[in-house]
Amino acid sequence: MSNSYSMHPLGDAAVLVQLGDGISDAVHQRVVDFTQRVERNPFRGFIECVPSFTTVSIYYDPLTVQKPDDSNSTFDVVCSLLQERFKADEEDGNPLSIQDVVDIPVCYGGDYGPDLEIVAEHNGITADEVIRLHSGQDYLVYAIGFAPGFPYIGGVPERIAAPRKPTPRPRIPAGSVGIAGTQTGIYPIETPGGWQIIGRTPLALFRPDRQPPTLLQGGQYIRFRPIDRAEYDRLREVKLCD
């Protein structure tokens, strides 16, 4: 794996750091690692990091960043501060701690998964087979974005891949689990969306009164677990009471 990186301005108040080209677990590992290192050792003026598949964007307050002298560009100063963190990265190189796989109970099909049959028909398999394949592996959460707590997850088996709906639904309920191409994801809040909805989880992915405010974070692994309607209702009840 290459240790190269490049830094690009994202306007006059952010730097985008490119850590790889393609979507892969190895590049993702670098993204998570670099994000954590900057957050653990923030520079003066640092606001926040937003990691994605191959990049980390670092937002800063140009007025607070300390410039050695007036002739320096704030962008250059921030780049050199980030380079220092990169060096620390190479010397230290602690691997990330291995996290538990987050269990996501899903009630597939029926009202909760109106597109399960469409996905099955599209691939010439049964609905049960779709459920078996979708819940039969761990998935890496590459990034969180689009909506609060929405996980970007790739690596869905080709045998259950399905195109987006020709016309997006105006409202997809929170907790809906969908497929788009070889991606899968969970809608944390009610939004419009074009993914094929195959089930629903009773878990709250966005919980603004808690820290962290989302169930999932980039770098975690998740596994979907099929549950029936009764289990869904029971978990929903527990969740509402806690």
């Binding site: 598949f53 980390v56 974005g145 909506a147 009164d209």
Partner: protein, 332 residues
């Protein structure tokens, strides 16, 4: 200070300077669109600049002040009035109990900021008082204001002196000084916004790159707090390409497959997959947020270094304005 909403208008929300530190969870920044006007409004009533204030979009909003107190209106001129008397903008104004403040007609810009001394008392959600409309959190119950909503402000720290009612001859009292308005485009005025080539600028074909910085764009009516949608020359890539989603910023100009650019604003999503043709310089973001739908803008190319210098220069001016306001309101 307490207020009651009489007419909700088009879109009135509680905003502060934004919600930071949660982008990695997909939580958007939100916050006032025109942060410069928001900050100045707060300074004028002795608040910290990050205090919560109302962002009033377009016309039709009215509210009643339930107590005597200091307010300030900045940003776009939406014809604020108390009764038949225009309320002066960009200065503190002492209003009396039962005054009805209305915003009826748009003269310039499209968003006004109303700060009340003490700052609006709404709970912080994830370290911010900004309304996050789509998630239904923050601000006032996570939603735009409705008729009948009753808001209150914290006790005022600096401007806690009241004005002798007998000295108020008209509808309100205002000192004679004011600060110079920010750059707010008048209705129908063509505006030039300075921008830097974006990360995927070179991926656009030569004709598109030239057109972007040399031809006018119209602001489409479906523009909102999330983004300003533009209509203009068709912008296209040299080769069709899919991009991996990555973070965007305030003022990022992205181009979806239909070739018509979108300027990302306060409620932009955290990650985006469209190619970024340009990035508006911070110094011109407040101006951009005050552009009216139907209006016209042009982009002028500048370098990153120029954008940094312009921003530093504007912040120096603002710190002088802030110091002057502080000195003046001691005398109020």
């Amino acid at each position: 200070m307490r207020l009651t909403v009489l007419k909700p208008g088009l879109l009135v929300t509680v905003q502060d300077l934004g919600r930071f530190g949660y982008g990695k969870y997909g939580v958007i920044t939100s916050g006032a669109m025109d942060k410069e006007s928001h900050r100045i409004a707060n300074w004028l009533v002795g608040n910290p600049e990050e205090a919560a204030a109302l962002e009033i979009t377009w016309s039709g909003f009215s509210l009643r002040m339930e107590e005597d107190g200091w307010i300030a209106v900045t940003g776009g001129d939406l014809s604020p009035r108390i009764g038949d008397t225009p309320v002066p903008m960009w200065r503190p104004v002492y209003v009396r109990r039962d005054s009805v403040l209305t915003f009826q007609q748009v003269r310039s810009g499209c968003r006004a900021y109303l700060a009340v001394s003490g700052g609006l008392n709404v709970p912080k959600v994830m370290d911010s008082r900004s309304t996050y409309l789509r998630a239904g959190i923050g601000g006032w119950e996570g939603r735009p204001l409705h008729a009948g909503d009753r808001l209150s402000a914290y006790p005022s720290r600096l401007l806690n002196r009241s004005v002798d009612r007998s000295t108020i001859t008209g509808a309100f009292y205002a000192p004679r000084w004011s600060v110079l308005p920010g750059k707010i485009p008048a209705s129908g005025q063509e505006v030039t916004v300075r921008a830097m080539p974006g990360r995927q600028y070179e991926d656009f074909d030569e004709v598109s790159r030239h057109a972007f910085f040399h031809q006018p764009f119209k602001i489409r009516p479906e523009s909102d707090r999330m983004g300003y949608r533009l209509a203009g020359p068709d912008l296209g890539l040299t080769l069709p390409k899919e991009y991996v989603s990555e973070a965007v910023a305030l003022g990022t100009v992205q181009v979806p497959a239909d070739g018509q650019p979108i300027i990302l604003m306060a409620d932009r999503q955290t990650l985006g997959g469209y190619p970024k043709i340009a990035q508006i310089a911070s110094v011109d973001i407040p101006l951009t947020t005050q552009l009216q739908p139907g209006g016209t803008l042009r982009f002028k190319e500048i370098t990153l270094r120029e954008a940094e210098c312009l921003r530093d220069e504007r912040e120096r001016e603002l710190s002088i304005i802030r110091a002057m306001i502080q000195r003046k309101i001691e005398e109020v």
